[in-house]
C-alpha cells in the first residue's frame, strides 16, 4: 500500500515526487509511457518565465513568481543546466508600448523584480540582430531558460534515489475507491494507495472522472517549434517575446541551455489529445514571424521541428484542488507550468498535510544528483582523469554532439533508466545534433540491447510498437 500515488511523470509529477521524497512516505509515480517526460514536458519553450504575464491574483501568477525564484537552487542541486539569460518583450509601435506598460505594471504587482522598459538604443546594445523597427521592450533580467526534460528526469531520478518508485508502461484505466484507500488499475495489475495526486497532463480530466470528479475539462492546444543548429548561437541572447495582441502571444525566439536557437510556438486548438503533428501552416507562421523579429534568421540551419500540446483547462487558471480529501487534482497546467513546478509541488505537499496525511522529514534525504553533463562540462585534465579510470569515456559515439560511450552507459545505468533511443537522447543529447542520429543510432541500438539484455530487434525509439528494425536478415560479422 502506497501513501501517495502520483499519476503522470511529467515535470509536475516529477517535482511533486521529489518534494514528497523528503518525507517518510511510501510513494510511487505511475506513467503510461516508456519513460518520464514524454508529454508536454518534452516539447515546450523551456523558459522559466519571470512572471509578468499571468493576471494578478491567479494561481498562475503566484506559483510562477514563486517557482521561478526557487528554480535556480533546485537546478543546482539536481545538476540541471539553467541560465538566467533575461527576457525582452519587444514592441514595434505605440500600441505595443501601451501593452508593454501594462505588462510592466502587472509584473510589479505580481512581485517580479528589476523590470524596466527599454528604448531602441538599449535594445540594440542587448540584441543587435533584432529588426530595425523594434522600438520598445520590456526587459526582465530574472527570466531564465532550463531544459525541461532534463529537469523532470533529474527530479524523478533524485526522488528514486531517495526511495520513490517509478512504475512505467502503466496506463491508468480505472480507479476504485474503498474505505481509506484506492486501487488503481491498468486492466491487468492493481496498485493500492491512500492518496492520489492527479498530474496526468492532458488526461487529468479523464483521471478525475474515474473517481467521479466531473468538475473540469482539458483540451489540447497545439504548439509547434523549429530548432536551429548550434552554429546560430549568439544570434539572440535573451528570450525574445512579441507583444501579445488579440491574436495571441506570437512566436518567441530563444536560445536553449544547449546553445541551439528555438522558434515557436504556434497556438491552435485541436481536439485529438494524441495528435502531435506539425503542419505546413505552422512552419510558415513560425518562419514569417521569426523573420519579422530577426531578419537575419538563417533558415537553412534548422535541424528539427516538433510539436507539444498544452493541457488547457476550462477555468482560465491552474486547477489545483482536492476532490474529497485524498484525491488531489493538479490539472490544466499549461504555461507557465514548467516555471511554476517547484511551487506547485510545495502547494500539493501543503494540501496533503492539510488533508490529513501526516509526514515526518527523512533524516537521510539527499537532495543532490550528479549532473548529467558533468563529463561534457569537465576540463580536458578532468576528462583525462575520468578516461584513465574508465576508457569508455574516450570513445565518441555521437559525433555531432561528441557524446562518449561512457556517458551513454552511465545514463543507461542511472535512475530513471532509459529503455529506448529517445530516452537515451533526452539524457545524453546523443542523436540531437545536426545529423539527428543518422550516424550513431545503429550503435546506440547495440548499446541498449546489450545493457538491457534484449535482442537488437526489440530496441525501440520510444517504447511499445515504435520498433527500429522489423526483421533479422543474417548474421554479419558486423564490427562497424
Amino acid at each position: 500500500m502506497y501513501d501517495v500515488a502520483i499519476i503522470g511523470a511529467g515535470v509536475v509529477g516529477a517535482m511533486i515526487s521529489r518534494t514528497l521524497a523528503r518525507y517518510n512516505l511510501k510513494i510511487c509515480v505511475i506513467e503510461k509511457s516508456n519513460d518520464v517526460a514524454t508529454g508536454a514536458t518534452k516539447a515546450n519553450s523551456a523558459i522559466v518565465h519571470a512572471g509578468f504575464d499571468a493576471p494578478v491574483g491567479t494561481l498562475k501568477a503566484k506559483l510562477n513568481v514563486k517557482g521561478s525564484k526557487m528554480m535556480e537552487d533546485i537546478a543546482r542541486e539536481l545538476g540541471v543546466k539553467y541560465k538566467k539569460n533575461g527576457s525582452l518583450v519587444i514592441g514595434f509601435c505605440e500600441e505595443d508600448l501601451n501593452e508593454i506598460k501594462k505588462l510592466y505594471k502587472r509584473g510589479i504587482e505580481n512581485g517580479v523584480e528589476n523590470l524596466s522598459i527599454l528604448g531602441k538604443e538599449e535594445i540594440n546594445k542587448l540584441e543587435p540582430n533584432l529588426a530595425e523597427n523594434v522600438l520598445y521592450a520590456l526587459y526582465a533580467p530574472t527570466g531564465a531558460i532550463i531544459c525541461p526534460y532534463e529537469l523532470a528526469i533529474a527530479a524523478l531520478g533524485n526522488a528514486m534515489d531517495n526511495g520513490v518508485g517509478f512504475i512505467r508502461n502503466f496506463e491508468v484505466k480505472s480507479i476504485k475507491k474503498f474505505d481509506g484507500f484506492f486501487t488503481i488499475t491498468n486492466g491487468e495489475k492493481e496498485i493500492k494507495t491512500k492518496y492520489i495526486v492527479n498530474s496526468a497532463g492532458l488526461y487529468a480530466d479523464n483521471i478525475a472522472k474515474m473517481v467521479g470528479d466531473n468538475s473540469f475539462e482539458i483540451h489540447p492546444r497545439r504548439g509547434e517549434y523549429i530548432l536551429f543548429d548550434k552554429e546560430c548561437r549568439g544570434i539572440v541572447k535573451q528570450t525574445i517575446f512579441r507583444t501579445p495582441t488579440k491574436m495571441g502571444k506570437g512566436i518567441l525566439l530563444t536560445p536553449t541551455v544547449d546553445e541551439n536557437i528555438l522558434l515557436g510556438p504556434t497556438s491552435v486548438d485541436i481536439s485529438d489529445k494524441e495528435n502531435k503533428s506539425t503542419t505546413a501552416e505552422g512552419f510558415f507562421h513560425i518562419i514569417s514571424q521569426g523573420r519579422e523579429n530577426l531578419p537575419s534568421l538563417p533558415l537553412n540551419k534548422n535541424i528539427t521541428s516538433f510539436c507539444g500540446l498544452r493541457a488547457v483547462g476550462d477555468k482560465g487558471d491552474f486547477i489545483i484542488n482536492s476532490f474529497e480529501n485524498n484525491f488531489i487534482n493538479v490539472a490544466g497546467i499549461e504555461s507557465p507550468g514548467l516555471s511554476a513546478s517547484p511551487a506547485i509541488a510545495e502547494m500539493v505537499k501543503d494540501i496533503l498535510i492539510e488533508n490529513g496525511l501526516s509526514m515526518t522529514l527523512k533524516e537521510n534525504f539527499n537532495p543532490i544528483r550528479k549532473s548529467m553533463s558533468y563529463f561534457a562540462d569537465a576540463s580536458i585534465e578532468e576528462k583525462n582523469q575520468i578516461i584513465k579510470k574508465d576508457n569508455s569515456f574516450g570513445k565518441i559515439i555521437c559525433r555531432c554532439e561528441k557524446i562518449t560511450l561512457g556517458e551513454i552507459l552511465e545514463a543507461i545505468r542511472t535512475n530513471p533508466k532509459p529503455y529506448d533511443l529517445d530516452g537515451v537522447k533526452r539524457r545524453t543529447r546523443s542523436q540531437m545534433g545536426r545529423c539527428q542520429g543518422g550516424f550513431c543510432s545503429p550503435y546506440i541500438v547495440d548499446i541498449l540491447a546489450e545493457e538491457l539484455n534484449i535482442p537488437y530487434i526489440e530496441v525501440t525509439k520510444s517504447g511499445k510498437n515504435s520498433v527500429i528494425n522489423i526483421k533479422k536478415l543474417k548474421e554479419v560479422n558486423g564490427n562497424g
Binding site: S305, K383, N384, T460
Partner: protein
C-alpha cells in the same frame, strides 16, 4: 606533443590515397587518424558493385576497392591510428583528438590533409509536416542497419530523394524482401547517376516520381503512411495531386553535406556552392599547409575521382613539407556562368597542368562547354549534362597566362 610532417584526418579512400602518395613522394613521418575501427570509410558499407571502373578497369564492391588501398597502406608501413576522433584543429595545425587508449591528446603537424568525408542531410532540415514516429531513416543509416548489422528496418518503403544512396538502398531493400512503393524526387530530374536509376529502379519496376515530394508523415509509434504530392515549378505542392501511400518506412536520400565542422574551427574559408573548402589546383585551402580531398571537399559520385583527388592532395602536401614552399599569391580565378554550379578547384595559383571538376545545375542537352581566357577559347561538345554527374575538363597551359578563366555553357 608529438610532431608529424603530415597528418591525414580520415582513413577513407581519399585519406588513404593521399597518405600513399605523400609517402611515395618521400614523407615518412606521417599519420592517418580514423575514428572508426578500421580503414575504408563509407566504402565499408557499400557492398554493391560499381567501384573502380575508371581506376582499375574492373567492377569492385566498396570493401574490395577500399581493401586495395588498405593493403598498400600496410605494405608501405604508413602509420595509422583507429578509434580516434579528431575533435579540433587550429590554424597553427595543432590537432586535438580523443580515443579510449590515449584520452584527449594533441599533436602538431607541418601539414594537414582533410579527408573526413561527408554526412547525410537529416530530416529536420526538410520540415516535413506530420508526426515523428519510428521508421524514418536516412538512406545511409538504413544501409548500415542492413549491411553492417544484418537487420531490415522496414518492409514497405517510400524513399524521398533520388540521391545515389537512396537508389542503391531501393535495390538493396527490394533484394532483402521489402517493397519499395515509390522514390519521390522534388526536382524535375534525379541527382543520382543514370546507371543507378537504370540498375536500381527501372530493373526492379520501382516508380521514380519526379517533381514529387512527401508533404506529411503519418503514424504514432511507427510510420503508417506518407502523403505525397506533385510540386509546381516553384516546388510548392499542388493540393489536387495529393496521394496517400501506406508504408512503414520513409527513407531519406536528400543530399550529402561535406563534414566541415573541423575546417570551420581552423578558420578555413568554405564555399557556399560545395559546402567544402575553397581550394587551388593543389587542393590547398585558404589556410596555408592545410589541404582537402574527397567528399569533405565536394561530394563525389565516383570513388575513382576521390582517389585521384587524394593523390593530388597527398602530392601537394609532400611538396609543401619538403620544399617549405609558400603559396604563390598571384591567382587565376575560375569564373562560371550560373549553369555551372561550381568548380573544383575554385582558383589556380601556378602554371601547371590542371584538371577542373565541375557540376551543372540542371539537365542540359546538346550544349558546348566553353573555356575562355583572354583571347583563348576552347569548346567541348556535350550531348547531355546531368547535375548528378561530375564533369571534368583539362585546361591547356597557355590558358593560364591570365587573371581569370571562364567556363560556361552555350547552345550547340
Amino acid at each position: 606533443m608529438d610532431n608529424f610532417d603530415i597528418v591525414i584526418i580520415g582513413g577513407g579512400p581519399a585519406g588513404m590515397a593521399a597518405a600513399i602518395t605523400a609517402h611515395q613522394e618521400g614523407i615518412e613521418n606521417l599519420l592517418i587518424i580514423e575514428r572508426d575501427d578500421s580503414l575504408g570509410g563509407i566504402l565499408r558499407q557499400c557492398i554493391h558493385n560499381g567501384f573502380g571502373l575508371h581506376k582499375f578497369k574492373e567492377e569492385l564492391t566498396g570493401p574490395e576497392y577500399a581493401l586495395k588501398y588498405e593493403k598498400k597502406v600496410k605494405e608501405l608501413n604508413i602509420p595509422y591510428i583507429l578509434n580516434t576522433m579528431v575533435t579540433d584543429i587550429s590554424e597553427d595545425k595543432t590537432i586535438t583528438a580523443t580515443s579510449s587508449e590515449r584520452g584527449i591528446f594533441q599533436i602538431k603537424a607541418k601539414s594537414i590533409i582533410l579527408a573526413m568525408g561527408c554526412r547525410e542531410r537529416a530530416k529536420g532540415a526538410l520540415n516535413i509536416a506530420g508526426s515523428r514516429p519510428a521508421g524514418i531513416y536516412s538512406a545511409g543509416t538504413a544501409q548500415k542497419f542492413v549491411n553492417m548489422k544484418g537487420y531490415l528496418p522496414g518492409k514497405d518503403i517510400v524513399i524521398l530523394g533520388s540521391g545515389d544512396i537512396g537508389l542503391i538502398m531501393a535495390r538493396r531493400m527490394t533484394l532483402e524482401g521489402a517493397k519499395v512503393h515509390a522514390v519521390c524526387e522534388i526536382m524535375p530530374y534525379s541527382g543520382g547517376l543514370a546507371r543507378n536509376i537504370q540498375q536500381c529502379l527501372k530493373d526492379f519496376d520501382i516508380p521514380l516520381k519526379l517533381s514529387h515530394t512527401v508533404i506529411e508523415i503519418h503514424g504514432k509509434e511507427r510510420v503508417e503512411g506518407v502523403t505525397i504530392a506533385k510540386v509546381d515549378e516553384k516546388r510548392n505542392p499542388i493540393p489536387e495531386t495529393k496521394e496517400y501511400i501506406p508504408c512503414d518506412t520513409l527513407l531519406l536520400s536528400v543530399g550529402l553535406i561535406p563534414e566541415n565542422e573541423l575546417s570551420k574551427g581552423a578558420g578555413i574559408k568554405l564555399s557556399n556552392a560545395t559546402s567544402g573548402a575553397v581550394v587551388d589546383q593543389k587542393r590547398q585551402t585558404s589556410v596555408e599547409g592545410i589541404f582537402a580531398c574527397g567528399n569533405v571537399l565536394h561530394v563525389h559520385d565516383l570513388v575513382d575521382y576521390v582517389s585521384d583527388e587524394g593523390e593530388i592532395a597527398g602530392k601537394s602536401a609532400a611538396e609543401y613539407v619538403l620544399n617549405s614552399k609558400t603559396r604563390n599569391e598571384s591567382l587565376i580565378k575560375i569564373e562560371t556562368d550560373g549553369k555551372i554550379r561550381y568548380t573544383v578547384p575554385q582558383y589556380i595559383t601556378e602554371k601547371e597542368n590542371t584538371k577542373i571538376y565541375f557540376r551543372v545545375d540542371n539537365i542540359y542537352n546538346n550544349k558546348k562547354i566553353i573555356l575562355r581566357s583572354n583571347s583563348n577559347i576552347k569548346t567541348f561538345k556535350k550531348q547531355k549534362l546531368l547535375p548528378g554527374e561530375m564533369e571534368t575538363i583539362t585546361v591547356p597551359l597557355e590558358f593560364l597566362d591570365a587573371e581569370s578563366i571562364y567556363i560556361g555553357l552555350e547552345d550547340l
